[in-house]
């Protein structure tokens, strides 16, 4: 009869882990509207932080090509900064990156305006850049 405890112990253990992870995931959303680090120069245009890693296949096969295609049609002032989480773990920690790829859109003041966990299309990122204050070409 002691075996009846098995599912209860297991579900309690997984429940605690899931709640902790959910709380941590939610905390990344809390970054929207926050300046995690000031922009490199004043009066800058919106920018994209692209978090990637060598083991992330989808980063190399889909996200990077999408960003390159996007960059080709953007104003020179819009910066797309690629961040390898293994090289810059501190930056990934400050932006609470949990999954790769993650793209974070910042406005001119460095304030986080959008966070995309997983692959984000060029169209989505372009729209988010416009929402963050990027001038739309006439």
């Amino acid at each position: 009869m002691i075996l009846l405890l098995a599912p209860l112990i297991a579900i309690a253990a997984v429940g605690i882990v899931a709640l902790a992870l959910r709380a941590q995931r939610g905390s990344q959303r809390e970054l929207v509207g926050v300046v995690v680090e000031p922009p490199r120069r004043q009066g800058a245009m919106p920018s994209i932080l692209y978090f990637t890693g060598e083991a992330c296949t989808i980063c190399h096969t889909a996200q990077r090509p999408a960003l390159r295609a996007l960059a080709a049609g953007l104003d020179d002032g819009v910066e797309i900064r690629e961040v390898d989480v293994a090289v810059e773990p501190e930056l990934a920690r400050r932006y609470r990156v949990m999954s790769l790829p993650t793209t974070i859109v910042l406005d001119g003041s460095g304030q986080v305006t959008d966070i995309n966990v997983g692959f984000a299309t060029g169209e989505t990122l372009r729209r988010q850049l416009v929402d963050a204050g990027m001038p739309v070409a006439a």
């Binding site: 075996l3 599912p7 997984v14 773990p89 692959f119």
Partner: protein, 153 residues
């Protein structure tokens, strides 16, 4: 280079098999404790699936039977399969550990480990919360996992 197409339905089939077989084995185990040996079979299934796609029993079942018959529809997404493979490996390791406890007769610990696998599979199946995938991202980030593309085939 083309993006990697990844069919999430294979994962759903895998999670369904795990949940059903473990729960049924657990119930039968009250009458026949030997039913716990099903955990050993599941451990082999999970670890073989990680080792090679050609040994992935749930995938074979899905590709040859469930998809052609329309019982399970494909859900192809652009996604890195490496975190899911790591999650499968984690499930396989839990079940392998459970198998050791089955063989040594510590059935409570064996079934606790098996139910942890059920709970994780349910979270992924019902809510797309892949705890193993989140762990994978964290381990890559802190440099515990090797940053080799071979791990993310």
């Amino acid at each position: 280079m083309a993006a990697v197409p990844f069919d999430r339905s294979v994962l759903k089939v895998n999670q369904s098999i795990l949940m059903v077989v473990i729960v049924v084995g657990y119930v039968i185990g009250f009458a026949y404790p030997e039913a716990a040996y099903v955990l050993l079979a599941l451990a082999v299934m999970m670890l073989a699936a990680v080792a090679s796609p050609s040994l992935n029993l749930p995938r074979i079942l899905y590709v040859r039977l469930l998809r052609p018959s329309g019982i399970v529809k494909p859900r192809v997404v652009q996604e890195d399969p490496a975190p899911h493979r790591f999650a499968q490996l984690l499930g396989g390791v839990f079940l392998a550990a459970a198998s050791v406890f089955v063989v040594t007769g510590v059935l409570l610990v064996a079934w606790v480990l098996a139910w942890i696998v059920v709970a994780l599979a349910f979270l992924n199946f019902a809510f797309n919360i892949c705890v193993g995938c989140i762990m994978y991202a964290q381990l890559v980030r802190v440099g515990v996992l090797p940053l080799s593309r071979a791990t993310a085939r």
